[in-house]
């Protein structure tokens, strides 16, 4: 259950809208079911009262929308950001992707978001309703006579289980309590893969990446992917392709995409959330983050505005490429 109630958000949004401080509100719109919320721009008080939602299914990170929405709007935009979203927000500001003056940020605490896939795996298909309780969710389905009690921890998204920070690194106003940078086990899975033999690693990634359908959802949702024209869409780039023709193309796309955001990826986990094939794409990004931390010192993208990303920086004493594998002799 989220600590802040939807009504608190709605009241703030409406009062800011009515006072003219903001001209629109970027928030989550109720869908057909309890879980399919859509990012939306609200400008109308009644619309907000009726359709604005804040619950355990509001996973979408709004930061990237600010790039296009601030361009399209003359007035200020109110945006609600969860702690992990604020990192993407800062990173986009660092890269001068939108005008900070046009945004009013309300930070909201987050208790983690539910992965609907996990929920379905647990209670079965045919989800009808879900009610948040102290410990979890009370879910009804088309095929169960009684509501099923679901432990929230068992259905949280991977990125929320391994939440790196509940601290807001950017806001104009904070609702509720400020959180802390968390001790997270987010690199454990990376370490587990590193510990495999090369053959196992190859088989693991071959299996995962071969499911890719090249829908580009990971790229299009990624707050770090804000190029006007992606190399993979550009016919003269030499690497343009829109089909997972074979295992090479699948690897090419995902390696290069992860590399392009290396050092700028805040580990918000949107790529894995949106992947229709459930490819654990965050494990590629986290590998880069882990390596960067290990090779060049701890660095968290988006922690502060204006920091220099590790790949556009260097030290005279940097590790040599040949020393990368030192101490890692799994062959």
């Amino acid at each position: 259950m989220q600590k802040i109630n939807r009504d608190v958000l709605i009241d703030r949004a409406i009062s800011l809208l009515n006072s003219g401080q903001v001209s629109s509100v970027l928030g989550w719109r109720q869908g057909e079911f309890f879980y399919d919320v859509t990012p939306a721009v609200f400008t109308d008080e009644n619309d907000i009262r009726e359709n604005f939602v804040w619950n355990d299914f509001c996973g979408a990170n709004f930061s990237k929308y600010l790039v296009s929405k601030t361009k399209a709007s003359d007035g200020k935009i109110l945006v609600f950001l969860k702690p992990c979203d604020t990192y993407s927000f800062n990173q986009l500001l660092t890269e001068h992707r939108f005008d900070r003056e046009k945004v009013y940020v309300i930070g909201i605490p987050c208790e983690g978001m539910v992965d609907t896939g996990k929920l379905k795996a647990q209670v079965g298909d045919g989800l009808v309703s879900a009610q948040s309780t102290e410990e979890g969710l009370l879910v009804t389905t088309l095929y169960s006579d009684e509501p099923v009690n679901v432990d929230i921890k068992s259905v949280l998204a991977e990125r929320c289980i391994n939440c790196k920070s509940k601290k807001h690194v950017a806001y104009d106003e904070l609702l509720g309590d400020e959180g802390q940078i968390e001790d997270s086990d987010r690199f454990d899975e990376v370490a587990r893969i590193e510990a495999m033999s090369p053959d196992e690693r190859f088989a693991f990634w071959q299996g995962e990446l071969s499911r890719c359908i090249r829908c580009n959802a990971c790229r299009d949702v990624c707050p770090a992917c804000t190029c006007e024209k992606c190399v993979f869409d550009n016919p003269v780039s030499g690497v343009e392709n829109k089909a997972p023709v074979n295992s090479f193309e699948e690897k090419m796309f995902h390696i290069i995409r992860a590399f392009h955001v290396a050092g700028r990826c805040t580990d918000c986990g949107e790529c894995s959330r949106v992947c229709p094939q459930n490819i654990p794409l965050h494990l590629l990004n986290r590998k880069f983050i882990k390596d960067i931390n290990g090779f060049y010192g701890e660095y968290q993208a988006g922690e502060c505005v204006g920091s220099r990303a590790p790949l556009v920086d260097y030290n005279l004493e940097d590790l040599e490429a040949s020393d990368v594998f030192e101490g890692r002799d799994t062959q």
């Binding site: 190859f202 693991f204 390696i255 590399f259 790949l311 920086d313 005279l316 940097d318 490429a321």
Partner: protein, 144 residues
């Protein structure tokens, strides 16, 4: 005489200001290095985008080596420092995906180091030859 001995195809990206001249020097000094090494001249080692490395593998390379100026000697002051970080991360990522780490290398070779150039290429070619054909980053279409 052994026929059809497997010969690896090696792509070497060489910086125009150092290792490319180093290769020249190796040639002038009649130093041998394998003919399987195909040199691509780049204005600076930092011109080598990670996608170039992958493209080389796609097009049939069995090993890719990037040669640049020694740290501190970059013609553009700092290009090779960026290369160092990029390639360290890229090589580590390729390894993470289960691609043999011996297929990639970054070396600093100056224009005066013809001997080092030849030795590096000999060593790298041998290392790659020991691995055999690149199967993990191949594009079967290019082998038709």
């Amino acid at each position: 005489m052994q026929v059809n001995k497997y010969r690896p195809l090696i792509v070497a990206f060489c910086c125009n200001w150092c290792s490319y001249a180093g290769a020249d020097l190796a040639g002038n000094n009649r130093l041998n290095y394998p003919a399987d090494v195909k040199i691509i001249r780049v204005p600076c080692s930092c011109r080598v985008n990670p996608s170039f490395v992958l493209r080389a593998f796609q097009r049939g390379a069995d090993g890719v080596i990037i040669c640049g100026c020694h740290p501190g000697d970059c013609h553009y002051t700092s290009g090779n420092y960026y290369t160092r970080r990029r390639m360290a991360l890229l090589f580590s990522m390729l390894d993470y995906l289960g691609i043999e780490r011996e297929r990639t290398r970054l070396e600093w070779v100056s224009a005066a180091e013809g001997a080092k150039f030849a030795a590096t290429m000999n060593d790298f070619a041998e290392q790659v030859a020991a691995l055999g054909e690149n199967k993990r980053l191949e594009d079967l279409r290019c082998k038709r």
